[in-house]
Symmetry: C2
Subunit: 599 residues, 2 copies
């Protein structure tokens, strides 16, 4: 290995920064007291119940410090999505090191007392969750339920041309269905007006107890797979920190150069051909830098590092192993006696809003603009007497949506598993197209690389993209067959929880609501049969707190219009609108519908 | 193209058989009367409401006739899974042509009256669904909700060494998450004791209205992708039927030869290295052989063929197009005047149980053997007085499961997203391992190519594999964290519907129940935080008919044992068992627990 991207001095500093992050991560998992190890470690300093996931954390920290370098070196706007969000200690440690954590939580100050609080609060009654969560600055992705990291990442960069999302995908997570299809998001990304995603596949070899699929296929197969997905994979493999720093720095430099070239070309010359975006495959030991073995069993680089490498700390010798492990990071070189990161290392972090924990894209409400909304009354069906005329409600709604798309060309998109036309929103194709940056053939209708209708046959992708789009400060609508929305029950659940928690965090700003149109609903699915009949999503939704949820069952076109207007104005809600697409009698005239909806 | 796998005569006959299937498919979608076109077609012969999906159907039919050839040529036991199950007319047409349909539904006889019934019943009040469904002979897969075809296929062949599942995957379906990850099932397939899956990716270019991802990436990328997934792709591309018949026949011969070689080697020499299984990529026009254009718009080969290429049959000229379309198959050459397929063509179909519609693997209850069950009482925790002792209920259950695995070495497996140990079923690893046919490293624990614990970090895969395993006559248990079982809400729904419908079909035999252990449940997930808390799956389950569903909340280890025994004996149920893994007080002694459970 002869690449020398980093000077010896910079490498040494970056390694120090990484050690600091690792130290703080282990501290969060284990320590209750004695944060700077000023006294010999005893059982009293250790938490009674050990929680958290060490295994993924050193890798997440390694990536963080390397992203810090490219942010400052190339003046990039980057946010970090940690698919293995259970590596919460790492994200907390890094936002603490860069200063953002103490800015939002002043009691967790950058000194010994603050460090002790940082350690104590982690996964502790009244403290913070062990996962990356809404409470974590810089995060738009919880990662508790694995699978949605890349979908969120791509959703975040649509229409955010200057944003780069570094998205870490666990090799376990990569086995999930939603993640496996989300690699194809690159066929929907347009470098002219979208930002970039840099996926970093984190091959640390294990999920909880067993090996992962992608870590155990030959190198050539792995390379073929990601070439087939449309990426250029850059491999960073090894376990020697010095070599790995050089390799990672070189890979990131190459990736940034490719991204810049792609974007510069597209922005100067317009979209021509789907580019082959870079990605990084980081193969490093699970629990890297942790204890090599515990109780005679190999630990670093094995599944035994997944959660806490040593659980029972009263076991003879365990306190000593922990003490040596913590000391191996040489904290006294990293923190001053008051517990503050030494200036030379602190200087490595980006400053101000460039810090990943402070980047406003990760607190999308800060960037949110109201939609410009046409007067929905103008679309009303004339209803001389109740029941006198028939209309297809969603077709009428489609006209309103069309104009919302038209007058909000950069912060509103529509998402659907190819049911936009079927759900009768055909009017939108008067002003835009389906989005595809893959090959387009003459026989296609309404397909273009800058289309604002995002159609992939994956309810997971639609949901994940839209969530990412909303969480970074925009608006959207998901149009789906009612029967198949159950596919995203669990994603809906997680997003609703996010909104619930985020709504109580003062520094998190409200975001656009998650809007569903569910059509082709049960009562009209006789022809498609039993498999297409399922009104049960509402039950799932109704289980959530009323603060977050609105369910609408508008009986006709004019009420649907009023409801749609309400949804598009609302914040921090999940709005579920169930409406018919078949011709049906109309009941309320314009004004009656408005009165009905504001009742 | 110079391959000449088929003699001119055989090719001609196979093309005739295909035309017959296509004719019957169009007939089902459109015709109400005049099935043999003995009279000029008029509007009166056409259904008032046109339903069904033409687009995918000619491709499904093409594959069926080609599979028929290899079944007879190589005496194979094959079942057909149609991912695009909305191509129901094709599967019905083919089982009718081979005779199985009339055997189970004698009123749909192989004559003119029967053909008329066949046409009329399709997607008609009181008739049959437009999708492949439990009513369809030869099917274990509905395909209404897309995404699970390959998971079902692999589940079906585990421990069925002589079975070959030909699994058609739609290119739209291939965009779903569950499908995208299910290609990796080949890392869990052991040719020593498992059968084979032959995936056939059906690239007909469109989903409902838009193009598909996989149809629009360069050939090299497509090849790399499937090489990366671990397959050898055989391409069959074109639209000229004669050439396509030769190509498909050659590809199938090659695939069968590879499968036989792989199996012969593994069965003679034991498992050595994960083989590179063959697959077929069939690129053919959507709505192949249908109207080239309708109302001046291109139809064959475009999204306009997805459902019915012509909806409004009262439109001038449409009846004529339909008449010409039907006549283009030259039905008078295919059926005798009484409406029976001519003998020369009928002879192409396999006979008896080799017919795909009659293969017993597709009616798994026929092959089902009761599990050999140890006496669960032998595992009971001794409970001298209620609350006097603590036990981890699922750990005790794990001992019972261990012995079920041990004494049922070929028809019981356990499925989990790597939560078997975490849910405290560690005892199973005393007698078996996690299954992996990918690389195994010295540091791994309990991983082997013949392990009976199926762990992939995909709840979708676990569910789909298990469903396929059950539907082909075996038994199993899915162990999952309670919070994440919502990921398969929709799959559970579809399976419950399948059981409901199948339970009322006289020729479908009862199958093993779908058993869930949900542990790590909400009350003990404080440390993992909000994202891991969700007891809502029970609500979903409770919405289903009581005929199919059992929910168990056993309060302690001994009741859990009794419940587990009940689940493993039951048929045609979904059993949801929610149980704790943490040490908890025990309430019922052995006999009280049994009494409690039989109450
Ligand atoms: C959908 C889902 N299923 C199961 C789990 C339980 N779980 C938590 S961590 C983990 C393993 C994750 O492996 P990987 O993504 O490789 O992360 P890392 O090894 O870096 O921790 C599992 C299965 C989960 N969080 N989400
Ligand atoms: C999960 C799911 N989402 C949406 C649909 C609605 N739908 C029915 S058919 C279809 C397109 C299927 O495309 P493909 O798999 O390529 O089949 P083919 O083109 O051969 O009909 C869609 C989106 C569905 N059936 N299942």
């Amino acid at each position: 290995m002869t690449t020398k991207t980093l000077s010896a001095e910079l490498l040494h500093k970056m390694d120090g920064y990484w050690r600091a992050a690792n130290y703080l991560s282990v501290g969060q998992i284990y320590l209750f007291d004695n944060p700077l190890l000023k006294r010999p470690l005893t059982l009293d300093h250790i938490k009674p119940r050990l929680l958290g996931h060490w295994g993924t954390t050193p890798g997440l920290n390694f990536i963080y410090v390397h992203l810090n370098r490219i942010i400052t070196e190339f003046d990039l706007s980057v946010i970090y999505i940690a698919g293995p969000g259970h590596g919460g200690p790492g994200m907390v440690a890094n936002t603490y090191l860069e200063g953002t954590y103490s800015e939002v939580y002043p009691e967790v100050s950058q000194d010994e007392a603050g460090m002790q609080r940082l350690f104590k609060q982690f996964s502790f009654p009244g403290g913070i969750p062990s996962h990356v969560a809404p409470e974590t600055p810089g995060s738009i992705h919880e990662g508790g339920e694995l699978g949605y990291a890349l979908s969120h990442a791509f959703g975040a960069v649509f229409d955010n041309p200057e944003l780069l999302v570094a998205c870490v995908v666990g090799d376990g997570e990569a086995e999930t269905g939603p993640l496996a299809t989300s690699w194809h998001s690159n066929k929907f990304l347009n470098p002219v007006h979208d930002g970039a995603v840099l996926p970093i596949l984190h091959l640390n070899g294990y999920k909880i107890a067993g090996p992962t699929v992608l870590a155990r296929i030959p190198h050539a197969e792995l390379e073929a797979l990601f070439t087939g997905y449309g990426y250029t994979p850059h491999f960073v493999e090894g376990d020697d920190p010095t070599e790995m720093h050089q390799r990672m720095a070189a890979a990131l430099d190459a990736a940034v150069a490719e991204i810049k070239r792609i974007q510069a070309d597209a922005r100067a010359n317009g979209f021509r051909l789907r580019p082959r975006w870079p990605m990084i495959i980081l193969r490093s030991p699970k629990g890297w830098t942790g204890p090599i073995s515990v109780d005679g069993k190999p630990t670093e680089g094995t599944f035994r590092s997944h959660q806490v490498p040593m659980g029972d700390m009263s076991h003879p010798g365990h306190v000593k192993i922990l003490q040596e492990w913590l000391q191996s990071y040489r904290p006294q070189e990293l923190f001053d006696p008051q517990g503050k990161l030494i200036a030379e290392l602190a200087a490595l972090a980006p400053t101000g809003l460039r810090r990943m924990g402070a980047n406003p894209y990760a607190n999308g409400g800060l960037l949110l603009h109201d939609l410009r909304l046409p007067d929905f009354r103008a679309y009303a069906v004339s209803v001389p007497t109740p029941g006198a005329v028939d209309a297809e409600a969603t077709r009428v709604q489609g006209e309103l949506i069309r104009d919302v798309i038209k007058i909000n060309p950069a912060n509103f998109r529509v998402f659907s598993p190819d049911e936009t036309s079927s759900n009768r929103w055909g009017a939108v194709f008067e002003v835009t197209n389906r989005c595809s940056t893959a090959e387009i053939l003459p026989g296609d209708e309404h397909v273009a690389p800058d289309g604002r209708v995002m159609e992939m046959l994956s309810e997971h992708q639609c949901e994940g993209w839209l969530e990412g789009y909303l969480l970074t400060g925009r608006h959207g609508f998901f149009s789906c067959y009612e029967a198949f929305i159950h596919i995203v029950d669990s994603m809906f659940n997680q997003h609703a929880k996010w909104l619930d928690v985020a709504g109580h965090i003062p520094w998190r700003r409200p975001i656009g609501s998650l809007n569903y149109l569910l059509s082709s609903h049960v009562w009209r699915q006789d022809h498609n049969g039993f498999s297409h009949q399922d009104p049960g999503f509402i039950d799932i939704v109704a289980n959530k707190k009323a603060e977050i949820i609105r369910v609408y069952l508008p009986p006709d076109a004019n009420t649907l219009l009023a409801v749609t207007d309400q949804c598009l104005r609302s914040r921090n809600f999940v709005n579920v609108v169930v409406a018919g697409k078949q011709p049906a009698p109309q009941w309320l005239d314009r004004d009656a519908a408005i009165a009905h909806c504001s009742a």
